[in-house]
Amino acid sequence: MSGAVVVAGYALRESVRRRVFVVVVLLTLLFLGLFAFATAKVFEHTGDFTIGRNIGTLDATGLVAATMLGLGMFATLFLATVLAVFLTLGAVRGDAERGLLQPLVVRPLGRTSLLVGRFVAAASVCAAYVALVYAGTLLIVHQASGRWPDTVVGPGLALIGASAVIVALALLGSVFLSATANGIVTFMLFGAGLVAGLMQSIADAIGSHSLGQIAHAISIALPFEALYQAGLHALTANQTGFTGALIQLGPFGSAHAGGPWLDLWAVVYVLLAGALAAWGFARRDL
């Protein structure tokens, strides 16, 4: 395991020295700035949104705050996915093709330790990144609306879990695919997960059981999506009535709570992906 720690430290140092973090921080600050500007503008008009409409018990501020928080969660997951993919897309085959991997693999650390080290490094970076960006979006929405989500920590942890799943998938892909192909595949899987989430919302809206089942199966097969949906649900877990229904039907709402089984499945999923990656890596001629 000490070999894994060395590899993780090496991967983190590489990110620092290649100025990956500087670029990421600058672009994230730009994103948060735009998000803050948009949020402030949205809440400037939230009052007009309620006046003159006969919409009963609608909590307009709550609806807009939940939507902005959902948007923030989506953006956080998307940015974390970009980070996860670029930190791992060439970890095995890409590095082997460039001749970077061979000097490391012949050392006594072992191939599995190398994979574990790369996973720990990328998942740690993504976790820290998700935590910071998620906290930033919460603060921005709170500053503009005075509202906090119904659950603060749970959605953040769900996003961190989702990013870890994506890291595991990208690392698994790096064993079997070239770096470019792996990046494409991972982003397509991310897109498939998002489509499944939207299908779920549509299924809920029209009451289609079969569509809902398909969407649910996809989100279980790609548990980062199920975790994301669970996070969205937890954001507005206490919203009820007309406002709650509107939020759930919106693009950033979800009627599907997570729970210990989902968390357990996500952990098992990461372990299975890791085991498959280790198996494939052990059999790969370099």
């Binding site: 070999g3 060395v6 090496y10 590489e14 020295r17 290649r18 460039r98 001749g99 970077l100 061979q102 000097p103 490391l104 693999v105 012949v106 050392r107 006594p108 650390l109 072992g110 059999r283 001629d285 370099l286």
Partner: protein, 300 residues
């Protein structure tokens, strides 16, 4: 003490392509063995199997008694790949620190300084890899392979990017390693280099060992050239101990002798014979039994 490297009945297939077929090879501690062969002969595949990068299809390879690819085997060896790269952002010393950690070497700064000194990179210890020439990177690769004092060193074309000074430095380094008991398997296209430093040579062709032995055993007698007033006369099959008799015969026949030269084949000729290549100088050996008269002006 087990052999530093023991390879027996080793085979490797890539689909229908046979990369190695029934290869056997032993390298004793402190022995320097050269691996020769044309492109695609299986040299790099053999080296990669020994260091655990490639899995064999048949046979086995033992490194200091441990199966190739095992942790014990990897602990005992140092490896310089033919096509390798270190991260451009890393400094020379950082590369060695990383490999010290991965190897579990406790040599610290003293080991790093000694290794960099050996490959003449001590002054460039703080330089980034991306700012180094190809030759410097190759020398850093050699230093990296020596981290942790390996008992078996696998060098795949270690001098391909080096200038003559760098090559000489590597030769001297290999000789020092031999004195310290380090076994070396040297894969190189440079026959002269292999001939200069290696105790033994194995020639691979088509995935098989087609010749093996000491360089002096692989080369063979090439006859005698005697320069006379009429030109150079060659005695293709003559040996050294026949020279006095040949000279006496020529003198008795009224020839005037200006010079005598013993001919031996080079390792390159032995190599080309072994791998089935054509020699450029075949015409020199057209008459096997008798002397060939060459006009004096054409003698070289």
């Amino acid at each position: 003490m087990p052999a530093a490297l023991s390879v027996s009945s080793l085979g490797k297939r890539y689909g229908r392509t046979v990369a190695l077929d029934d290869v056997g090879l032993e390298v004793a501690p402190g022995e320097l063995v050269g691996l020769l062969g044309p492109n695609g002969a299986g040299k790099s595949t053999l080296v990669k199997i020994v260091c655990g990068l490639v899995r064999p299809s048949a046979g086995r390879a033992l490194v200091c008694g441990a199966p190739a690819g095992s942790r014990e085997a990897r602990r005992a060896l140092g490896y310089l790949a033919e096509l390798f790269r270190f991260p451009g952002w890393a400094r020379a010393e950082e590369v060695l620190v990383l490999h010290q950690r991965l190897t579990g070497s406790d040599g610290g700064a003293a080991e790093r300084a000694a290794l960099l000194e050996q490959v003449d990179l001590l002054q460039a210890r703080a330089r980034r890899v991306e700012a180094m020439s190809k030759g410097m990177q190759q020398r850093l690769g050699i230093a990296q392979a020596l981290v942790g004092s390996p008992r078996l060193l696998l060098l795949d074309e270690p001098t391909s990017a080096l200038d003559p000074v760098g090559r000489r430095m590597v030769r001297e380094l290999l000789e020092r390693l031999r004195e310290r008991g380090v076994a070396v398997l040297l894969n190189s296209h440079l026959l002269s280099e292999v001939e200069l430093v290696c105790d033994r040579v194995a020639i691979l062709s088509g995935g098989r060992v087609v010749a093996a032995g000491r360089p002096a055993d692989l080369v063979h007698a090439g006859g005698v050239e005697i320069e006379t007033a009429d030109g150079v006369r060659r005695f293709e099959r003559a040996r050294r101990d026949e020279v006095p008799g040949l000279v006496a015969e020529l003198v008795a026949a009224g020839e005037r002798i200006y010079g005598v030269r013993l001919l031996t084949s080079s390792l390159e000729e032995a190599y080309l014979d072994a791998v089935g290549g054509r020699q450029d100088e075949d015409e020199r050996r057209l008459t096997p039994d008798d002397a060939v008269a060459v006009p004096r002006g054409e003698a070289s």
